[in-house]
Amino acid sequence: MNEQQQTLADLQHIKNMMERSSRFISLSGLSGVAAGICALVGAWFANQVIMDSGGPSSYREAVARTIGTESLQEFMGHRLFIIASITFFSALLLSFIFTYIRSKKNKIPIWGTTAKRLIWNVAIPMGAGAIYLFKQMQFGNYGLIAPGCLIFYGLALVNASKYTLSEIRYLGYCQLIIGIVNCWFVGYGLYFWAIGFGVFHIVYGLLMWYRYERK
């Protein structure tokens, strides 16, 4: 190796070590794609439930009628709530699997300081958001739950971008924007969820996969 190549290699090494030690870089694009597909499948099932109860408009009327009358326990037993929970956990599990595979491939331990730091910084906005939205449910403000989830998730991603692939910031901005727009279209949360949690995740995941993981 000549001197110039040696110098370039040294700089590459420095950059690599700085990134690997401070950011969780194993996050796989395929995790995003998997989570997005889960969201779309979940949205399809939820849509069936809504259609079975007489279509979106009568469903919205039914929801409007029950506002303030339905207890939290009743809401938690709701079929839509169950679909949402299954969707969330399967998305979490699948995205973990793809990221795990990538970390094995890159020979980076999955459970290190960078992973802990990332999880903690995602958990802060998500946890605060979850408590706040549960409180909203207790007061019967169901219409603001869907936009609230998108907004808090967007904030979590923007915060996370300092501790993992920085491009995730743009996914966060998109979730924030669509969540805020959803505030003016209360009752259409399912469609906004399908776009935000479904389409945006898939697009982000494919772009990241294309950029970093494609052979």
């Binding site: 001197e3 110039q4 110098t7 040294d10 070590m17 700085m18 030690s21 401070s22």
Partner: protein, 98 residues
């Protein structure tokens, strides 16, 4: 001015260069995380850390996590300065090619 004169002999080693790079962007890193990062043996890492410590580029904190010892490392002011000088010299060498 010849930028090569500003290159630091201590950073000739890839491993020491890696340790310093990681410490520059983290407040502190423990021994095991450094080992995972560089993928080298305990003894190898310890000897490189010793060299850096003798030159007062890194400082050591010995603590405990539960009953296990937890040794963490962080960069000193002198280490930070030396690393930055080395980086500038590397940049100049690249710039000199143009």
């Amino acid at each position: 001015m010849n930028p090569i004169e500003h290159l630091n002999k201590i950073f000739d080693s890839r491993i020491r260069l890696g340790i310093m790079s990681a410490l520059m962007v983290n407040e502190e890193i423990n021994f095991n995380d450094l080992k995972d990062l560089l993928q080298i043996t305990d003894g190898n890492l310890a000897s490189h850390l010793k060299t850096l410590e003798e030159n007062e580029y890194v400082k050591i904190f010995k603590g405990f996590v539960g009953k296990k010892t937890n040794t963490t490392y962080s960069v000193t002011k002198a280490g930070e300065k030396a690393f930055k000088t080395h980086l500038t010299a590397l940049e100049k060498m690249i710039g000199g090619i143009k």
